[in-house]
């Protein structure tokens, strides 16, 4: 439809008309910007040098403990807790979000109540509560309310530090994820719901095939946030005697008194994991962003961020 490249008329043709082709315009040299770069680089290098040469960081000790078995064990607990809690949290959060948007008042109310309670109380309190559940309910059973009981367990057999940690982290996460996912579902154009309906899709199928893939674009970034918060929130489980990364590090420096280098060990690990997750998040965002690229040929990520030229503003 559009015409191909039109050969530019010879320059003198512009000049004759008293016009100047913008293609020949020269960009001003940005001295200020260059200077800013140099200054920033200098400060960064100096800070890096200062930290690296500071004896108080005891980098030798950091290196010695970085891959120590007890630290790696703590790391695996942190990663395991994060992964499992997040998976349960996302799955439960999806159910809660769909329930919250239901036409039926019962699931809507229940979901709202759940979110109200689990978002409204501190995670630390929830963890301690789950860990000490046996104080409130010595035995747990399945049965018909006010009717016969089908099965009973002693609470202390069910609730170990591990299950209490999973319960606390996952149930809390589900409440946050529910709101994130609900926001995502609401961001999808009404017409998409309607089209899926008109084509005879069931609600479940419409969600799975049409709505959720589109909602993902606005669900993924805050979920990445949640995941990173979760990695750090797992350090709270040390209060219920779970040996996560921070707990293992503390165990070591309580013996050796090398507080700063051991905290650096955990900081470096947290940063490393977070960096990997950031890369993963970008990949997922690219995947769900397909179809959003503009028609301009040859520009893969042609959707320019609305703040892209803030730094260039004069």
């Amino acid at each position: 439809m559009t015409a191909g490249a039109v050969p530019a008329p010879p320059l003198d043709e512009f000049a004759e008309a008293g016009l100047r082709d913008v293609a020949t315009a020269r960009r001003p040299v940005a001295y200020g910007r260059g200077l800013l770069w140099v200054a920033t680089l200098a400060v960064t290098l100096y800070l890096g040098w200062a930290v690296a040469h500071n004896k108080n960081f005891e980098w030798g000790v950091v290196a010695q403990w970085f891959t120590a078995p007890s630290i790696l064990r703590g790391l695996s607990v942190t990663l395991g807790l994060t992964l499992v809690s997040m998976l349960i949290g996302v799955a439960l959060g999806l159910l809660l979000a769909v329930a919250r948007l239901s036409d039926n008042r019962l699931p809507r109310t229940l979901s709202g109540l759940y979110i109200w309670i689990f978002r409204g109380t501190p995670l630390l309190v929830q963890l301690i509560f789950w860990y000490n559940l046996s104080l409130l309910f010595p035995a747990l059973s399945i049965g018909i309310p006010f009717g016969p009981t089908l099965a009973t367990w002693k609470t202390n057999d069910l609730i170990t530090p591990l299950t209490a940690a999973f319960a606390g982290l996952a149930l809390n996460e589900a409440a946050y994820m529910a709101e994130i996912i609900r926001g995502g579902l609401l961001s999808v154009d009404r017409g998409q719901y309607e089209t899926a309906e008109a084509f005879g899709m069931t609600r479940a199928r419409a969600l799975r095939r049409i709505i959720i893939p589109q909602a993902m674009r606005s669900i993924v970034p805050p979920t990445g946030n949640q995941l990173i918060s979760m990695i750090k929130a797992t350090s709270l489980v040390s209060v219920i005697a779970m040996g996560d990364l921070l707990y293992s590090v503390q165990a070591v420096y309580n013996r050796t008194f090398e507080v700063v280098p051991l905290l650096m060990v955990s900081v470096l690990w947290y940063l490393l994991i977070t960096s990997i997750l950031n890369a993963g998040q970008s990949a997922i965002e690219r995947y769900y962003g397909r179809g959003q690229r503009s028609a301009r040929p040859g520009k893969a990520g042609a959707v320019r961020s609305p703040v892209a030229n803030v730094g260039e503003a004069r």
Partner: protein, 267 residues
């Protein structure tokens, strides 16, 4: 699946009423559409044409009246002599043979053109992917967009998107096609390509109900033109009668505003 008895109309609407709060949009619509007939509904904005169209496949729930498609009413079931509302799941099954084209195209933006078209045939009608893809490419060729199969909707012009949406609706082998103002969201120069596609369909014996403002299309593609105003059908008949020689003053007034504008002629 619904099947129409020989001679009986495919769509039969009687006394359809619909209100949004105190605002009564449909005030008793009676309309029969025969299988293979192309019916164009004209009328000013707010006359209830789109609402009526959406009542046919139960996207809107009517308050009173009845619309039968073949031997069933979408969204309801006759059991033991009483009409019962069907579950969302059962309604979805009933709807699956009605194709619909929307004003805003509503293509699935996260899927390619081909994926858009095969979604319902594979997912709802249980076609094999190979068969569905083959049919989809056939339909794309028919609407002149075979080379766009791998493109995303974003990369297409409005007219191209609407032609894909038409192919998508045809892919389910519909017994009825509903068009809800298919050209109203298009730039004027893109209207023609969509109307051409629709004219081709009209000539192929597909049952179509089209809500539009395109008088030219109504004149040369419709078997019957229905004129609606203020929630009622005011006038209906052959296009040359309703458009060429309207009896009702309101029809005449409405049409007079289009007379000066040259209509898009068929190629």
């Amino acid at each position: 699946m619904t099947t129409s008895l020989a001679g009986a109309p495919l769509v039969r609407a009687r006394g359809v009423h619909k209100s949004y709060g105190a605002n009564e949009v449909l005030k008793g619509i009676d309309l029969d559409v025969q299988a293979g007939e192309v019916v164009v509904i004209l009328g000013p904005s707010g006359s209830g044409k789109s609402t009526f169209l959406r009542c046919i496949n139960h996207l809107e729930e009517m308050d009173r009246g009845s619309i039968r498609l073949g031997d069933e009413q979408i969204g309801y079931e006759l059991r033991g002599g009483r009409l019962r509302k069907l579950s969302a799941r059962a309604t979805a099954r009933q709807r699956s043979r009605i194709g619909m084209v929307f004003q805003q195209f509503n293509l699935y933006p996260h899927m390619t053109v081909l994926e858009n078209i095969v979604e319902a045939p594979i997912g709802i009608h249980g076609q094999s992917p190979g068969e569905a893809r083959c049919h989809a490419l056939e339909l794309l060729t028919k609407v002149g967009l075979a080379e766009k199969a791998a493109a995303f909707p974003r990369q297409l012009s409005g007219g191209q998107q609407q032609r894909v949406a038409i192919a998508r609706a045809l892919a389910i082998r519909p017994q009825l096609m509903l068009f809800d103002e298919p050209t109203s969201a298009l730039d004027p120069e893109l209207v023609g390509e969509v109307l051409t596609t629709m004219r081709d369909l009209a000539g192929q014996g597909l049952t179509m109900i089209v809500v539009t403002h395109e008088i030219g299309f109504a004149r040369d593609a419709a078997d019957r033109v229905v004129f609606m105003d203020d929630g009622r059908i005011i006038e209906q008949g052959k296009p040359e009668d309703v458009i060429g020689n309207p009896r009702q003053p309101r029809t005449r007034l409405f049409l007079s505003r289009f007379i000066q504008t040259p209509d898009v002629q068929p190629r």
